[in-house]
Symmetry: C2
DNA sequence: TTGTATGCGTTATCAC
DNA sequence: GTGATAACGCATACAA
């Protein structure tokens, strides 16, 4: 920087002012400095600026695994929206483990990031308060209702309720909840299961715990769940899957049994991943407003980073949702 | 840090030495310092360390769009492998545009990153030399054969050749190349098309340019390509798709015509994305050795970052590949 | 409008 | 084996 200053016949400070677009710089000086910067190919040293300013211009994004359509979509939106606001995004994969999530938060606290967006799966209320205190964090999508953490959630309960009622309307009487789980910490899994149960209740259908099939939240899980239903001889005419990945797996599982949707059973998913519209059959699913959620999350995070909101003034926003009806439930 | 030094009754320098695991520190001192660090909850300031060392511990990863299964998979592997080596990864989305890719490189040069892995789509040889000079960069997967840039590619030509020959063996005589393109700059598209043409030649099948169907490299592209073949009345009994996404789209496109694989036409893809194994029908595809490619790429990049290789000594590695035969070509 | 002095937190160097 | 000093490159505060 001092080289540039010399070349332009000014002080380093003036160069800094020009580069940061400060107002009180004469047009002539600005021009000379800019020219010198160009000529010398000068680039500002970001590390020094970070040290001095205490910021990094980087937002951390902690997600279980970016190699899952749902998180890939989320990451894509976060990166784009952050770029629009002048931030870059570092992605941390937590592997959906408590340690991984804690590690991601720890990294943030090293002041490597100015803020953190975390898609929590395992980290619960008890951890939250201790771990998040005093750092700009927004939880996205899943667990954590801790009052001290900003949270952008989705309509887990309402979504599966809508999906289940839709299946009932289409004539299903024995609807399995693929991935369904009642016990365990409150989170996407239990909330979505609750929505399913509420819908059954509303529709006057009996609850049968044999139709609750817990399984991993991925393609293989969906396949395994359907296989297990068949192996256990549990009859079903609808599959309300807790995620699209599981639903796509379930379609595959049906095929393995020589059955298919919507002929032998109706199938719904949750997330509206890109593949859902292109599967054979295309997948009826609950579409959460991903874009809105991400926009809101970054809104909240930048507010926090700017210190524009008090520490204990946490907000809890729920995104919009809507049911998209496709071939897997008869179109 | 000086607080810790005071608490442990030593100098800041000694604290630094302990934290960095330097050898010449007495056991007793090390213990006292470690204890003080724990007690005060001290975390090192990364920005200061970066300023001093001239590194950031961050690797940039520039890809077209992380919301595509193939790039998601790549990103997942890169992040994991980088973490193993003590680096974090910042993801830049280039939107597969020349400007986006140039921009990503420019960002890296701001010394925000220690090195850059870039999945080039548009940036060609002519840009490469100028833009990459003097910065540790590894190109991954697609274009760029510039001798001055390290490059980890995949067996584009051999892969589609194998896939096409497989289709011929299974009885196909009119094989369409979905996404196929002869003109344009050398890259994955043209190389894969070349492999297809070579296989036809080897098999003694005539080439018919009506069977070359250029289209966007995504799900929608695959659907559109099949629709166009049908609209043009071009008969076909095999679809050699240049990527899995296009193949999954093609399966959907067949369904829209009331046809399906492998009954009405055999279908192959390229990439072996997770969904390929779970589609109905499951997809025969060329599996490039993603993991090996990423490991090699990080190997090359860390070498460059350590300055262990001369500027003009570029390496060009091609990953392994193998054909995975599934239901879409008869199992 | 521009310049000077100072410090951000760490570590390389060299003396002790 | 340990500590004093300086420097990494920039930006805040204030003086000119």
């Amino acid at each position: 920087m001092s080289d540039v200053a010399k070349a332009a016949g000014v002080s380093a400070m003036t160069v800094s002012n020009v580069l940061n677009g400060h107002p009180h710089v004469s047009e002539e000086t600005r021009r000379r400095v800019t020219e010198a910067v160009e000529r010398l190919g000068y680039r500002m040293n970001v590390a020094a600026r970070n040290l001095r300013s205490g910021t990094t211009g980087v937002i951390g994004l902690a997600i279980p695994d970016i190699d899952q359509p749902y998180y890939g979509r989320l990451a894509s939106l976060v990166i784009a929206e952050a770029a629009r606001r002048g931030y870059r995004v570092a992605v941390e994969q937590t592997g959906a483990s408590r340690e991984g999530e804690a590690q991601a938060v720890a990294n943030s606290r090293l002041r490597t990031y100015d803020g953190l967006i975390i898609a929590t799966v395992e980290l619960g209320d008890e951890d939250a308060a201790a771990v998040f205190a005093g750092f700009p964090v927004v939880a996205l999508g899943e667990r954590i209702s801790e009052a001290s953490v900003d949270h952008v959630g989705m309509a887990n309960f309402e979504g599966t309720r809508d999906a289940t009622l839709h299946l009932v309307e289409r004539g299903c009487r024995r609807i399995a909840a693929i991935g369904g789980r009642i016990e365990g910490e409150t989170g996407a899994a239990t909330l979505r299961t609750a929505g399913y149960l509420a819908a059954l209740d509303e529709a006057g259908l009996p609850r049968d715990d044999a139709l609750l099939v817990p399984c991993p939240f991925n393609l293989a899980g969906g396949v395994a769940a359907v296989r297990q239903l068949a192996a256990d001889g549990v009859p079903f005419d609808g599959l309300m899957c807790l995620t699209d990945s599981m639903a796509l797996g379930a379609l595959r599982g049906l095929a393995d049994l020589g059955r298919s949707a919507p002929g032998d059973a109706l199938v719904t998913g949750f997330d509206d991943v890109p593949q859902a519209a292109y599967a054979v059959p295309s997948l009826t699913t609950v579409a959460p407003g991903h874009a809105e959620m991400v926009t809101t999350a970054l809104e909240l995070l930048t507010e926090r980073m700017a210190g524009r909101r008090a520490e204990d003034e946490a907000r809890n926003v729920t995104g919009p949702h809507r049911l998209i009806i496709r071939e897997s439930t008869g179109g």
